[in-house]
C-alpha cells in the first residue's frame, strides 16, 4: 500500500464520518435531554433534499446548508409536538418521522434527481496541506468538516462545564425533580430536539451538497440509524462520538482499503460492512447491560408531562 492511497483513505474516512458525526452529536444532545428521536433518517433526508434544491436555485451552497438545517428543525418540531406535547410513544413517533421524511423527500425531490450543483469547495490552508500523510486529511477539507470539529469541541465544553449542559442533563435524568426545582423541562427538551433536527439537516445537506453532490431518493442509506447506534457506542459521552463516527466512516470505505491490498470483493457485499459493524458493536456493548445503563439518561424515551 503506498502513501498516496493511505492519505486518501484517511481523507475519505474523515469525509465519510462527518455526516455521522454531525447527526450523532445532535442525537446525543437530544437523548441527554431524555428524548429518543428515531427520526434521524427522515430529518437527514429532508435536509438533504431541501438543501440541494436551495443550492440548485440560488447557486449558493452555503445557503443550501442553512436551508438544510431549517428543514431538519421543521421536521424535529413535528416530532416534538407529537412526542413531547402530545406525549405519544417516542419510538413510534420517531419511526413515523422517518417514514414521513423518506416519503416527503422523495416526493419533493423527484424532479431534481440527476441534476447537478457545484459541490462545497475544500478550503486548503496552503503549505500545511503538503505535509505527507496527514496534510490533506486534516488541512484540505471543506468548511463543514472544520465546522463539525468546532461543534464537537463546543458540545464537549457545553456538557463539561457551565449550567446549560447541566440543565439538559437534569431534564434527561429526572424531569419531575428538575421541573419541581423550576427548570422549564418542556422548553429544554424542545430546544434539544430542535438542535438534533438542525444537526440531522446539516448531515443530510453534507451528503447532497458536499459528499456526492447530487440528490437521489433515500440517499442517506441508513446513516441516521447508524448514528443512533453511535450514541450507544459512545455510551452518551461526547468524546467517543467522534471516534465512533470516523470508525464507521472507515468501515464505509473498506472497498478502497481492500483495493490497497489488491483484493477484489463484490461492492454489494462490502456495502453491508457498516451495518454488520453496527450490529457487532451493539452486541459487544450490550453484553454488559448493567454498565451501559449507568451512562444512559435515566428518563430516556419515557413520556413525561407536567402534572402540576
Amino acid at each position: 500500500m503506498d502513501l498516496d492511497l493511505l492519505t486518501n483513505i484517511l481523507y475519505l474516512t474523515i469525509r465519510t464520518g462527518t455526516p455521522l458525526l454531525l447527526v450523532a452529536l445532535g442525537e446525543l444532545v437530544c437523548e441527554k435531554s431524555g428524548v429518543l428521536n428515531l427520526g434521524q433518517e427522515g430529518m437527514m433526508l429532508m435536509g438533504a433534499v431541501v438543501g440541494f434544491i436551495a443550492a440548485f436555485y440560488s447557486g449558493n451552497v452555503y445557503l443550501g446548508f442553512a436551508m438544510a438545517a431549517c428543514a431538519g428543525i421543521a421536521m424535529s418540531l413535528v416530532f416534538g409536538f407529537v412526542a413531547v406535547t402530545l406525549n405519544a410513544n417516542q419510538v413510534a413517533t420517531g419511526l413515523a418521522l422517518t417514514i414521513f421524511g423518506t416519503g416527503l423527500s422523495a416526493f419533493i425531490g423527484a424532479s431534481f434527481e440527476g441534476k447537478t450543483i457545484t459541490a462545497l469547495p475544500t478550503l486548503a490552508v496552503g503549505f500545511v496541506e503538503t505535509i505527507p500523510l496527514i496534510g490533506r486529511p486534516l488541512f484540505a477539507q471543506d468548511a463543514m468538516v472544520y465546522f463539525s470539529w468546532i461543534l464537537f469541541i463546543a458540545i464537549y465544553l457545553f456538557f463539561k462545564q457551565g449550567r446549560g449542559g447541566l440543565k439538559v442533563r437534569a431534564a434527561g435524568e429526572n424531569p419531575t425533580v428538575g421541573s419541581n426545582l423550576g427548570l422549564p423541562v418542556l422548553k429544554i427538551r424542545y430546544l434539544s430536539i430542535m438542535f438534533g433536527g438542525a444537526m440531522a439537516g446539516l448531515a443530510g445537506g453534507y451528503l447532497s451538497l458536499a459528499y456526492t453532490p447530487l440528490w437521489t431518493e433515500n440517499m442517506t442509506a441508513g446513516r441516521g440509524w447508524i448514528a443512533l447506534a453511535l450514541v450507544v457506542f459512545a455510551s452518551w459521552r461526547v468524546g467517543r462520538i467522534m471516534l465512533g463516527a470516523y470508525l464507521f466512516g472507515f468501515a464505509s470505505i473498506m472497498h478502497l482499503v481492500l483495493q490497497g491490498f489488491g483484493l477484489s470483493i463484490s461492492s454489494n457485499l462490502l456495502a453491508t460492512l457498516p451495518y454488520v459493524a453496527t450490529i457487532v458493536v451493539l452486541v459487544f456493548l450490550s453484553k454488559n447491560i448493567e454498565r451501559l445503563k449507568q451512562f444512559e439518561p435515566m428518563a430516556l424515551g419515557k413520556p413525561w408531562h407536567k402534572t402540576h
Binding site: I99, F100, T102, G103, L269, I279, L282
Partner: protein
C-alpha cells in the same frame, strides 16, 4: 396551552375511533396537499382513492398489493403484542425472496409439481433465518432489536443486490441485474383468469385465521400478551421468555419470508433489484392502524394497498411523483399516534395553568 389530563381508564371508544380519525385527517390533509399542488382537491382524491378500485381488475390488483403487506403485518402484530419491536419485516421479506429464488432457478425447465411448494418453503426459511438471527442477538446478546432489525434490513437489501448482480444473475440475460424468468411450475397459480391475483391470497387468508386463533385461543398467545403488557408479571408466572420471543420472531420472519417468495414467484416472476416498494415498512403502519388485531389489520392492509395504487394513479393521471405514497403513509402514522393520545388522556385547553390545576 394544551394540557393532558389522564383518564381513569383507557377509552374503549377512542381505541377504535382513533384509526378512523387518523384516516379522515389524512384525507383532509391530502385534499389540502392536492390543492397546494394546483390540483382540484376532490377530483384528485377521487383519482387517488376511488379510481384504482373502480373495476374488477382494479379490485383484484388491490388484493395483489395487499397480500405481501398483510402477511408481514400479521406477524409484526404478534411481535408488537409481545413488546418485541421488530421493524425488520422488510429485510425478512427480501431474504424470503432471495431464498425462494435460489430454489426457483433450479426448476426453470422442470415441470415437477414440487417446485412451487419447495420455493415457498425456501422463502419461509429465508425469513425465519433472518428473524432468527435477531432473536439470537436479543435473547443471548441483549441487543436492542429495533436497531438490529433495521441493520438487518440494509444488509438484506445489499445481499439482494449482490444476488442479482452476481450468483443469481441470468446467464442469458444480456447482463441485466435480474435472475432467469421462473418456470411455470414454480409460479403461483392465478386464481382468476385475466388477472394477476395469485395463490398468495389463500396464504394471507390462512395467516389471518391462524394468527387470530393463535392470539385469542392459544395459551401461548395469552402468554405473549401478558409478557407484552407486563414483563415482571410474565416472569412471576414462570412464562418462558426465550420461547415466546423466539416464537413471535420466527412466525413473523416466516410470514414475511413467504410474502417475499410470493412476490418473486407471483406478480414479478423472477428476482429483480426492486422486489418490494417498502412493504415491510408499511406493514408496521398497518399493524398499528389495525390495532394489532388480525381483522383490523386486514382492513388497514387493504387501505395501505390502495394508497400504493393511488400513488401510481396520481403519477399517471395527475403527473405527481409516485413517492406521494410515502407522504400519505407518514401522515397516517402521525395522525394515528396523535389521535391515540385520546385513548389515555383528555385534552384540556388551559389558558391559565394555575386555574386549570385548581379545577
Amino acid at each position: 396551552m394544551i394540557r393532558l389530563e389522564p383518564r381513569p381508564a383507557i377509552s374503549g371508544f377512542w381505541t377504535y375511533a382513533s384509526p378512523v380519525t387518523a384516516v379522515l385527517l389524512t384525507l383532509i390533509t391530502g385534499a389540502f396537499l392536492f390543492a397546494a399542488l394546483g390540483q382540484a382537491p376532490l377530483e384528485a382524491l377521487h383519482i387517488y382513492f376511488i379510481s384504482p378500485i373502480a373495476d374488477w381488475y382494479g379490485i383484484t390488483e388491490l388484493f395483489v398489493k395487499a397480500v405481501p403487506i398483510l402477511l408481514c403485518a400479521y406477524g409484526l402484530a404478534l411481535c408488537y403484542r409481545a413488546a418485541v419491536w421488530n421493524i425488520g419485516a422488510e429485510g425478512q421479506l427480501l431474504m424470503g425472496g432471495i431464498f425462494a429464488s435460489v430454489i426457483a432457478v433450479q426448476f426453470v425447465d422442470s415441470d415437477a409439481w414440487l417446485a412451487m411448494p419447495i420455493t415457498m418453503l425456501a422463502g419461509v426459511a429465508g425469513g425465519m433465518v433472518w428473524a432468527g438471527i435477531v432473536a439470537f442477538l436479543k435473547l443471548k446478546m441483549n441487543t436492542n432489536e429495533t436497531l438490529s432489525t433495521i441493520m438487518m434490513n440494509y444488509i438484506a437489501l445489499n445481499l439482494l443486490l449482490y444476488s442479482v448482480h452476481g450468483p443469481l444473475k441470468d446467464p442469458h440475460g444480456f447482463n441485466f441485474p435480474e435472475s432467469a424468468l421462473f418456470g411455470d411450475s414454480t409460479l403461483l397459480p392465478i386464481l382468476f383468469e385475466g388477472t394477476r391475483l395469485h395463490l398468495g391470497l389463500a396464504f394471507s387468508l390462512l395467516a389471518l385465521a391462524a394468527t387470530w386463533v393463535f392470539i385469542s385461543r392459544s395459551f401461548i398467545g395469552f402468554q405473549i400478551q401478558v409478557m407484552g403488557q407486563d414483563q415482571a408479571a410474565a416472569k412471576m408466572a414462570g412464562f418462558n421468555k426465550t420461547k415466546l420471543v423466539l416464537t413471535v420472531l420466527l412466525i413473523c420472519g416466516g410470514l414475511a419470508g413467504l410474502a417475499g417468495a410470493g412476490e418473486v414467484a407471483g406478480p414479478i416472476g423472477q428476482l429483480v433489484p426492486h422486489i418490494s416498494p417498502g412493504y415491510g415498512y408499511s406493514a408496521i403502519i398497518v399493524a398499528f392502524l389495525g390495532r394489532l388485531h388480525p381483522v383490523g389489520i386486514t382492513l388497514a392492509g387493504l387501505l395501505m394497498a390502495l394508497i400504493y395504487m393511488g400513488g401510481e394513479m396520481s403519477q399517471i393521471f395527475l403527473g405527481l411523483p409516485n413517492a406521494i405514497t410515502g407522504v400519505f403513509q407518514g401522515l397516517i402514522l402521525f395522525f394515528l399516534l396523535s389521535s391515540d393520545v385520546l385513548i389515555r388522556y383528555r385534552i384540556r385547553w388551559a389558558s391559565n395553568p394555575m386555574k386549570a390545576g385548581a379545577a
